[in-house]
């Protein structure tokens, strides 16, 4: 009798446990954890991303999204190391410079169908210029969520103290040119502070000099990417100008000198407008944001891009694509545009941008952001960019010394990268 009761109790307990176990298995199977690698560790950015992830969870309760911040300088290396180690993220931010590597390799999941099918998405309003680099054979492989123009941040206090003309005055007089910008920077440098800083360049990431040499119409390689144009006249002139500004006029801090504009130590800096968040809240200085100066080739603008791609190798590529569609829909794009200007036409108007960029004035938004995105060229990129970048960098070191032979160095660079460009 006792034996039978024990048997029944055990069977019941097993049945109940079994049901829970099966239910548990079903839940575990449905639960999807998506991971996105990003290069920002900014708290405000992460707060917004987490809000978007929570919003997605409302309609997809089984999907959780986590963001993994990797260091900016070594981002692509860290990402490819994860991929090589069989630990690829589900989604990843991608720099415009390495876009070709990712898009052409087949590493990314095509997004066009998912984005077009998403309700109210309206992919057509994203400008074709913005998606060009992320598209292959008519399919979009990463969504350009950030289209951020480069501009000049100005410290008017330092410039006035040095008795030089401010960029605003030069713009009003119609002579906001590179020559005059460097003259102002040199005047401030003479007073003991830094002149003009090309942020993130550090005499290594030479691609950031695009914000200067585009003013001469220079480009490291031809539009089809096959021919080296580093040794052509526009590039030689532009680099000679930069070399003179660094070593003769001392208007640009030299190699090995660290000067931080946002700490109030330089007259001007060229960077993307998203860096406005670095402006000091304590001990603020009178600052301004102006378009890039005119070069010998006239007015120009430059934009930096960042894309979000879904890794083809991920187990949940479809769900990840759905999340990208949600993250970059018109509503969330509007929220993101306070940090990452959107390429959606409906969001490119002064009223909306003013709301999302409270630090900028109406004039700054119109002249720098809207016009920059509308007319700007994207930073250069190429298949195998890291190798080309390193080859150019190691040779350009010869330019960053006072007695440099700029044209000969550029010839040498073309000799070396020429075969890589043709690959």
């Amino acid at each position: 009798m006792l034996y039978q009761r024990t048997l029944k109790t055990t069977a019941c307990a097993l049945a109940i446990l079994g049901t829970f176990a099966l239910g548990g298995t079903a839940l575990a199977q449905d639960a999807v954890n998506l991971r996105m690698t990003i290069w920002s560790a900014n708290e405000a950015h992460l707060k917004l991303f987490n809000e978007i992830a929570s919003g997605f969870k409302k309609d997809h309760p089984n999907v959780s999204v986590t963001y993994e911040s990797l260091p900016f300088e070594t981002y692509t290396t860290a990402l490819t190391t994860q991929i090589a180690g069989g630990n690829a993220p589900d989604m990843a931010w991608i720099f415009e410079t390495s876009a070709y590597d990712f898009v052409k390799s087949g590493a990314l999941y095509p997004l066009t169908d998912t984005l077009k099918a998403a309700e109210g998405y309206n992919l057509d309003e994203v400008s074709a210029g913005a998606t060009e680099r992320w598209t292959e054979d008519g399919k979009l492989y990463a969504y350009p969520f950030s289209t951020s123009p480069f501009a000049v941040f100005v410290n008017n206090d330092l410039i006035k103290a040095a008795g030089a003309k401010t960029p605003a005055e030069m713009i009003a007089a119609g002579d906001w040119t590179w020559d005059n910008a460097i003259a102002t920077a040199a005047a401030v440098a003479k007073s003991g502070k830094g002149g003009l800083v090309v942020r993130d360049f550090n005499y290594q990431a030479w691609q950031y000099l695009t914000s200067v040499w585009n003013g001469w119409g220079a480009s490291p390689w031809s539009a089809d990417g096959k021919t080296c144009t580093m040794a052509d006249k526009p590039m030689a002139d532009a680099l000679a100008f930069i070399h003179d500004a660094v070593f003769t006029k001392k208007a640009i801090p030299g190699p090995g000198e660290t000067v931080d504009f946002f700490a109030g130590n330089a007259a001007m800096t060229i960077t993307q407008i998203s860096r406005a968040s670095l402006l000091p809240k304590e001990k603020p200085f009178s600052w301004d944001l102006v378009p890039l100066p005119k070069g010998s080739a006239g007015e120009y603008a430059l934009i930096g891009q960042a894309g979000i791609g879904v890794m083809q190798s991920g187990k949940n590529a479809e769900t990840a694509a759905d999340f990208v569609a949600y993250m970059t829909n018109p509503e969330n794009s509007a929220k993101l545009s306070q940090f990452f200007p959107s390429a959606r036409k409906s969001l490119l108007n002064a009223d909306i941008l003013k709301k999302t960029n409270p630090l900028l004035t109406q004039e700054q938004i119109e002249k720098v952001v809207i016009s920059g995105i509308a007319t700007g060229k994207v930073m250069p990129g190429h298949t195998g960019f890291a190798q080309i970048q390193q080859m150019v960098r190691s040779n350009l070191d010869a330019v960053w010394r006072p007695e440099a032979d700029v044209p000969a160095t550029l010839q040498k660079i073309c000799g070396q990268i020429g075969p890589l460009l043709k690959r």
Binding site: T76, T77, T80, T81, I83, A84, D101, F102, S105, G106, A107, Y203, Q204, G254, P255, G256, E257, T258, Q312, S313, G384, A386, Q387, Q390, R393, S394, N395, D397, A398, W400, R401
Partner: protein, 310 residues
């Protein structure tokens, strides 16, 4: 033994038991070394085999392709124009590091091998960089070596305008070597100190009675008696110098030009930055071969340079 076994097995089984004392001892021995052995197999031997396997392939991480290419990566190694420059930089770095490190370590050890009050403080002081995080140490030196950094600032107070340390080829290499030597010299210093304290005092006494001057005592007594330690430290330092990475990555990124691109940094660039994992693996095989040959050669040379072996 046979009697003992019969006593142990009254039933009279003829076969001896499997777990003899000798077998038990060997099992215990193997179990004791197992953690280390498993570690070596999993973290050294298997990866070494895999690296060799990868070196025979072209592995495109992004495209997820892994194609057998035979000796192609090795042919590429022979034709790589940058490699000679890289090997040259590696040789200069290693030679500079070993010479500077060992002589400074020996000098410090001799100076600190005195019975003076407070000498322990100095010993701790010189050893302390060894326990500091390598990257933190290098980053601080990176700031000090900037053109407008601490070192040039100090030189300026004496009216000397310092060079742009990390931006000129010669000074960049010197800087990287010095930063690395200051970081690790304490370790060799402690080894030398231990060796110096093992030299019998009577020998010096005898030498003094014979009228040998201090330098001669050092040359004829100290050096021969600490020669096994010199061999050990030089092997450790040379092998360590060939594996330097963090200092280069933080201070110079291999520049200016390729002047501080040592072999490990070059293979990191090829594999992790340019995504040529197959070629990167080939370069690691080259590095392995160089380390193996140098270690073997030094070991062979011990008969000539080591005065005695314990």
């Amino acid at each position: 033994m046979a009697v003992a076994q019969e006593n142990a097995h009254p039933e009279g089984r003829s076969s001896s038991p499997f777990w003899t004392i000798a077998r038990r001892d060997s099992l215990a021995g193997f179990l004791f070394i197992a953690p280390q052995l498993i570690g070596i197999v999993v973290f050294v031997l298997i990866p070494l085999g895999l690296v060799f396997w990868y070196s025979l392939h072209e592995w495109n991480v992004l495209a997820n392709t892994f194609t057998y290419t035979g000796a192609q990566n090795y042919r590429m190694l022979m034709e790589d124009e940058s490699l000679l420059e890289v090997l040259g930089a590696t040789a200069i770095f290693s030679a500079g590091l070993v010479i500077f490190n060992l002589s400074l370590a020996l000098l410090l050890a001799v100076l600190l091998n005195q019975r003076l009050a407070g000498i322990a403080i100095f010993r701790t002081l010189f050893f302390s960089p060894v326990v500091v995080s390598l990257v933190a140490w290098t980053i601080v030196w990176g700031f000090l070596l900037q053109k407008n950094g601490g070192i040039n600032g100090m030189l300026l107070t004496f009216g000397i305008e310092g060079p742009n340390w990390l931006r000129e080829e010669t000074t960049a290499m010197i800087s990287v070597i010095v930063v690395q030597v200051f970081k690790n010299v304490g370790l060799n210093m402690i080894l030398f100190l231990a060796a110096l304290q093992g030299v019998p005092k009577e020998l010096y006494e005898a030498a003094r009675i014979d009228g040998a001057p201090a330098f001669k005592q050092f040359r004829r007594i100290t050096l021969p008696l600490i020669s096994p330690t010199i061999l050990l430290t030089s092997i450790i330092t040379i092998v360590g110098s060939l594996q330097v990475f963090a200092q280069i990555a933080v201070l110079t990124q291999g520049g200016p030009g390729l002047s501080t691109t040592v072999l490990v940094y070059y293979l990191y660039q090829q594999a992790f930055q340019f995504h040529f994992f197959g070629y990167g693996s080939t370069l690691s095989i080259l590095l392995f071969a160089i380390v193996a040959i140098l270690t073997f050669a030094q070991w062979q040379m011990r008969k000539r340079i080591v005065f005695y072996e314990s």
